[in-house]
């Protein structure tokens, strides 16, 4: 019966053994590149994608001629052939695109690594470029209504007639239920946002680098969709990030300390909708993140306590809190208490989180900037460096078919 899967049955015996996983330890992220993160780039997304890719390839110590694979979101609005033409990539032999918005960030790396591990390509570039602030804003309702007429997102037809139009409200529906079931005090919320802002103040490239925020500021910020506030939301950003993936063998001879891919996984459990999976038995959780985490930890052969620093996909602070619970970093209903006061999640804490400022305070490049920051932690070059960081976990968007990575030094 399918229904038993709704009760969360992760069955390792039905999955390939970790030893059979060719991505594991055989692949690495060897280059990262980005553009400026801003609120109004004044450039088009193609222009930014090319700059980020060029920077990532140079960072790796490679040439454009070495690149033979490209990986992107289906949401990406730059044209892949136009990128090939602008950068003059002569040897492309592998491309793929992955859907589900931010859920695809880790999946792009997984597919790139799979192509490398199976000998289909040597050096694959993953990229995401978007004018989220000055152009198309995913957080706004009108955009989704237009998008719907051409997207196979059936269930929205049950929601849009009621003005239930925006990601913040979709998340708020979970948040309200979660707060009810676990008796969360609204004043406990906000510490996650505060700590990420502190991290952004140390990161000169963060959009909110010059905007301090206290917990009192958080509590005074306006409700946008009750129970979620303005300072629960990510920062709409213009910018691009690119990542270069190659084999562990080739990585040894390149310019940077490789961030080896210890595990990469995707998940899409039953009754999954795009941010609105309200017909699951329990609504105060994210089964997609739970399944993905089970797979990551099993393949990697490590547990939550082994992770030195996590970069959680945080379109809203609440989404990161639920991931802490689903990934086993704290008990169910305990994530707000876990973050209270901020000490556990600061760079010198038990589980440092989103050390570049995350999607909330660095930039909202659909999770790509989180993976880049994970690589910097492995290299030891973060502006909020975690002492001795060896294992980094990075997640893709929660509430959608999702993905994630564990990187190791």
């Amino acid at each position: 019966m399918l229904s038993e899967y709704l009760e969360r049955r992760y069955r390792p015996e039905r999955r390939p053994s970790p030893e059979a996983n060719l991505v594991r330890d055989n692949t690495a992220i060897v280059g990262i590149g980005q553009t400026e993160f801003s609120r109004n780039s004044g450039r088009d997304e193609l222009d930014m994608a090319c700059e980020a890719i060029k920077n990532a390839v140079a960072d790796a110590g490679l040439a454009i001629e070495d690149i033979d694979g490209l990986e992107a979101f289906t949401l990406e609005r730059t044209s892949m052939p136009a990128i090939v033409s602008a950068l003059g990539i002569p040897n492309l032999r592998f491309t793929s695109e992955i859907s589900f918005g931010g859920g695809a960030s880790g999946a792009n790396v997984l597919h790139a690594a799979a192509a490398v591990a199976t000998g289909v390509a040597n050096h694959v570039v993953c990229y995401r470029s978007l004018n989220e602030a000055s152009g198309h804003r995913y957080g706004r309702g009108d955009g989704y209504v237009g998008y719907l007429s051409e997207a196979p997102t059936l269930h929205y037809g049950y929601y849009f007639p009621f003005g239930f139009l925006t990601p913040l409200a979709w998340a708020g529906m979970y948040a309200k239920r979660w707060m009810h079931e676990y008796g969360i005090d609204p004043d406990q919320l906000g510490w996650y946002s505060v700590v990420l802002r502190e991290n952004a103040l140390r990161n000169p490239k963060a959009v909110f680098n010059d905007r301090p925020m206290t917990h009192a500021d958080y509590l005074e910020s306006p409700m946008i969709v009750e129970p979620l506030r303005l300072f629960d939301c990510c920062v709409d950003t213009d910018g691009a990030v690119a990542l270069v993936i190659t084999s562990a063998e080739r990585a040894k001879d390149l310019k940077q300390t490789p961030a080896y891919i210890l595990a990469a996984a995707q998940s899409c459990p039953p009754e999954q909708e795009i941010q609105t999976s309200y017909n699951r038995p329990v609504m105060s959780g994210l089964p997609e993140t739970w399944y993905m985490g089970q797979e990551l930890f099993r393949v990697a052969g490590v547990g939550p306590a082994d992770i030195d620093v996590a970069q959680l996909y945080d379109p809203f602070s609440f989404g990161a809190l639920l991931q802490l619970e689903e990934l086993g970093f704290c008990e169910r209903g305990e994530s707000a208490a876990f973050c209270e006061g901020g000490d556990r999640i600061r760079p010198d804490g038990q589980l440092p989180l989103n050390t570049s400022g995350g999607l909330l305070s660095e930039a909202y490049i659909h999770g790509y900037n989180l993976i880049a920051e994970g690589v910097r932690q492995i290299r030891g070059t973060s502006t909020s460096q975690v002492e001795g960081a060896e294992l980094v976990l990075a997640t893709g968007g929660p509430g959608v078919p999702t993905s994630g990575l564990i990187l190791r030094r």
């Binding site: 399918l2 059936l154 037809g157 849009f160």
Partner: protein, 155 residues
């Protein structure tokens, strides 16, 4: 419906206009048009199928039936927009997630319930409102515990 149309007429986004993508949901909206709430159920094992789908995920039977439901339920969760994202909706307005007696959870709006009166677990029942010539929405109003009991026996 394009964004421009929505802005000009300030109508609720209208699923019937989204065409073939919503074919599996046509019986649902046709029933609402008749002021009935009806859900898809597997003809083989009786599992409720919401949202509608081509086959039952439990027994993989492709035969299903549309069954009228009571229209009674409780507020399972809710949010209140303090800023409106769409001209058809004036803030503040609330969006409910109603858990029907039959178990399916439907998104809707409250009628005559202020945001600060909403509570998880509040009993509600369906009402219908015609919007223009070709569209009807289902909404939920407060139900008294008595009104809950009476139709519940008809289940």
């Amino acid at each position: 419906m394009t964004t421009e149309q929505a802005t000009e007429t300030a109508q609720r986004p209208h699923p019937a206009l989204w065409g073939v993508l919503y074919r599996s949901s046509t019986p649902f909206w046709e029933a609402v048009r008749r002021h009935e709430l009806s859900l898809q159920r597997c003809a083989e094992c009786g599992r409720w199928l919401f949202p509608p789908r081509p086959m039952c995920p439990d027994c993989r039977c492709a035969e299903s039936e549309w069954v009228p439901v009571s229209g009674r339920g409780t507020v399972h969760s809710w949010v209140t927009y303090d800023e409106s994202p769409h001209p058809a909706f004036a803030a503040p307005y609330s969006v409910l997630l109603v858990e029907l007696e039959e178990g399916a959870r439907l998104v809707s709006n409250p009628v005559d319930i202020a945001p600060d009166e909403l509570e998880i677990g509040m009993p509600v029942r369906v009402v219908f409102r015609d919007e223009g010539d070709d569209f009807t929405v289902f909404l939920f109003e407060r139900a008294t515990p008595d009104a809950q009991e009476e139709p519940a026996s008809a289940q």
